[in-house]
Amino acid sequence: MSENPYLSYDARILEVKDLTPREKLFTLRFVDPEVGENFSFKPGQFVIVDVRGFGEFPISICSSPTRKGYIQLCIRKVGRMTKFIHRMKEGEIVGIRGPYGNGFPMERMEGSNLVLVAGGLGMAPLRSVLWYAIDSGKYEHIWLFYGTKAYEDLLFRDEIVHLLKHGNAMNCSVKLAYEIESPSCIYLERGFSDRVCKGVVTDLFRGEEFDVENTYALICGPPVMYKFVIRELSNRRLSPGRIYMTLERRMRCGIGKCGHCIVGTSTSIKYVCKDGPVFTYWDALSTRGLI
């Protein structure tokens, strides 16, 4: 174990699965079993993937800590590094360092209802929360509102559709929204018309009421989405301290040294990698520029 926080540990790619035309799911296991044993994380934390000789980038962990032995990363092909990693195959080695960030406060939310609101790629960190909550069984009802551009963009399609159909047994309700119609989702809509609709993720709130004293909301999505979702939640009188969001910024170190993720004004400077990436709506109100 070295003291240098910039050194990453070897992890082997066990499986590469295509989720959509531009996102892939990578399952990784640490080469050194001791490192794998000692690696523990909370849902909402992220790691930095280090492709030796080429560069690094931060990615949230999308598997739950209750499933041991591996971590999963959902990576979208959107830039120079992610384009490169999409060409990597099973058996190749990358470097992983982490976990960084503060993660969702899962202990504090035990015994309450959870409303997970995901937009597009935002499903990735929330999937970690979702399976943690289902596996641990320590939470009341779990809602998942997931909005994408089209049905084809749905991440973890098999798992989500399975939960859509059979989630009630696991105390989980799933609702989906999509903006562009396609034959596959029309079939789904016909079968589950009360849970699948055309529109944006805020449309899924229609007709839903929550016990605001016993509910927490967790949001993740593109930057424009947050304000609208929070408006829906605030209209239902959910307290700002009960609304959690996980945000992204440009990160080079992940440990609060490189300064790219600094946000806020002179009274409220925060590092999204160290003080976040999970913030409450109260943090957003007191830190200008957070959402």
């Binding site: 070295s2 003291e3 240098n4 926080p5 910039y6 050194l7 990453s8 030796r52 000789g53 080429f54 560069g55 690094e56 980038f57 979208r76 959107v78 830039g79 992610t82 080695i93 470097g95 593109p222 930057p223 992204e248 910024r249 440009r250 080079r252 170190c253 440990i255 609060g256 040294k257 490189c258 300064g259 790219h260 600094i262 946000v263 806020g264 004004t265 002179s266 009274t267 409220s268 400077i269 200008r288 520029g289």
Partner: protein, 290 residues
């Protein structure tokens, strides 16, 4: 040796976080640790720069510790020196014109010699070993010291009013003064490069031959358009105005245990091609609030 210089171009942080710093070396597919220990004596550091180093310590020596910075900082011997302010200095307004700690020895110029203050155990040991070079401090010396300090305190040409600075700036988010200056600003990044407390860095992997690479970090500036750019194209600080304002917010952040992020050294004023002055901008923003 010019002891009476007013300021250097790059601050002493260049010895601890180098402008181009090799972090890791890639050989045979494995990273090799690049932490080196090298002894260093920094002679003639002004008190504003000593305060700047203390602020950097808070960032780089906070958990998890940056090993490169730590190795160099621990093996460095810092000798401070007193200075006279020129037309750009405003350290007195921020309380950084006198260094209470953060150095090993500090030399104050007196009419007939130097008053030496010891700031650490290392400094104490050095004085111990070279006792013959030092004399006892006399009452007259203390009198001279006091006079010099008073004369110095009166000769600052710029004063920054720091009362409620952080809160005032927060309220003045929409002030037109920001736009006025952002229009003159070239976004060249000079002010960030020469600032003792600016610490943003960019990391880049470079090939040194066909199969070996080195991970290097270099100073970055928050005025660069890519500073707030994330994958997918969204930019959190897209316009020059956003970035200009961000720098002032970052610099005026007040941490009770470390003070303001600005030490009043005046380098940004001296090296700005567009002639934008830090104190003037803040005063105008404050003025626009009334």
């Amino acid at each position: 040796m010019a002891i009476d210089y007013n300021r250097t171009m790059l601050p002493p942080k260049k010895f601890f976080v180098r402008p181009r710093d090799k972090m890791l070396h890639l050989k045979n597919g494995k990273w090799e640790n690049g932490v080196e220990e090298e002894s260093l004596v920094l002679f003639g550091v002004h008190s504003c720069d000593i305060h700047g180093l203390k602020i950097l310590d808070k960032v780089y020596l906070g958990e998890p510790v940056d090993p490169y910075y730590k190795a160099r900082r621990e093996s460095a011997f810092i000798v401070g020196i007193s200075c006279t302010p020129d037309e750009y200095c405003f350290c007195r307004s921020l309380g950084t014109d006198f260094a209470m700690d953060g150095f090993d020895l500090f030399l104050h110029e007196l009419p007939d010699g130097w008053l030496v203050r010891v700031g650490s155990v290392k400094g104490h040991e050095l004085v111990w070993e070279n006792e013959e070079l030092f004399e006892e401090v006399t009452e007259e010396d203390i009198q001279h010291f006091r006079e010099c300090e008073e004369k110095r305190a009166k000769s600052f040409k710029r004063k920054l009013s720091k009362e409620g600075l952080a809160d005032m700036l927060d309220l003045a988010y929409g002030s037109p003064v920001w736009k006025k200056y952002a229009d003159i600003c070239l976004a060249c990044g000079n002010c960030n490069m020469v600032c003792p407390t600016c610490r943003c860095y960019e990391v880049c992997d470079k090939w040194i031959n066909a199969y070996e690479a080195v991970r290097e970090r270099r100073y970055d500036s928050c005025f660069m358009e890519s500073h707030g750019l994330v994958a997918g194209g969204h930019n959190f600080r897209p316009t020059r105005l956003d970035r200009f304002r961000h720098r002032y917010y970052c610099k005026s952040y007040f941490d009770p245990s470390a003070g303001f992020n600005c030490v009043g050294c005046g380098r940004c004023d001296e090296f700005c091609p567009a002639g934008i002055e830090h104190v003037k901008v803040l005063d105008e923003v404050r003025g626009s609030l009334q």
